[in-house]
Symmetry: C2
Subunit: 145 residues, 2 copies
């Protein structure tokens, strides 16, 4: 049955390739602990059906995740999250975020934005999004307990 993976949000019209969005969200889910080592991921065709996306696109994402040692293939049964994936994914997350922050600051300073403006913008957005996260946690409660 599907629907256990509805936390995937795909933006087909965005500037990021679909398969890349899958890769990112899987890695972030592993880093966050939503996906645990040893856990099975939905089949290529299943996820393709749920997201209304071609199977080949999902397969490409899974291949990249396999190359990055996040997923492991169980011949004939499916793909499973590797036990040591959380370390790699946490590291990947840190690199991803660091790079984003680095670029944002580079653009800001190149454009003459002051450090005060920058801190204010950062704190405001952090408050907004962290509040959003807290509220989401509150709403979902314990869905599987």
């Amino acid at each position: 049955m599907g629907m256990a993976w509805m936390f995937f949000s795909i933006d087909a019209d965005g500037d990021i390739p679909i398969y890349e969005q899958i890769v990112r969200q899987v890695k972030l889910a592993v880093a966050d602990g939503i996906l645990v080592g040893g856990q099975m991921v939905p089949s290529v065709r299943q996820l393709a059906s749920d997201l209304a996306i071609n199977s080949n696109t999902i397969a490409r994402a899974y291949q990249e995740l396999q190359s990055d040692h996040v997923l492991e293939p169980l011949r004939g049964r499916g793909m499973v999250v590797r036990r040591d994936a959380i370390k790699r994914c946490t590291k990947a997350r840190n690199s991803l975020v660091a790079e984003s922050v680095r670029r944002a600051l580079a653009d800001a300073l190149a454009g003459g934005m002051t450090t005060a403006e920058l801190r204010e913008l950062f704190e405001a957005e952090l408050d907004r999004q962290s509040a959003r996260i807290e509220k989401a946690k509150h709403v979902s409660g314990n869905g599987n307990a």
Copy 2:
């Protein structure tokens, strides 16, 4: 003569289109005050020659800058920075930085990064880059004063 525009840094192998890099850097330069209203920008072929890039790529960037009301064409003479460009460019810079920060925070929080880690990363990178800026200002001195 060229070389007055060598502060442009183009990464042809990056994931950002070349014309987009031109657009961004021009806007940031205007927002920072490096490019002033009424000032002429180098010709399409001149800049293309300096950066070893096709003229059409520069032309496309200039067209986008014209559409965004940053540059103004002087038929047969070249392109000039509009007087009211700095307002638009500052606003565009704020939007650009805000969007980058927004995405970075979204990825970080989705990956389970704590606000403390996030603040630490932000402050560290801010210190590093702002120090870099200060040093660059010190080296260049006052070139136009």
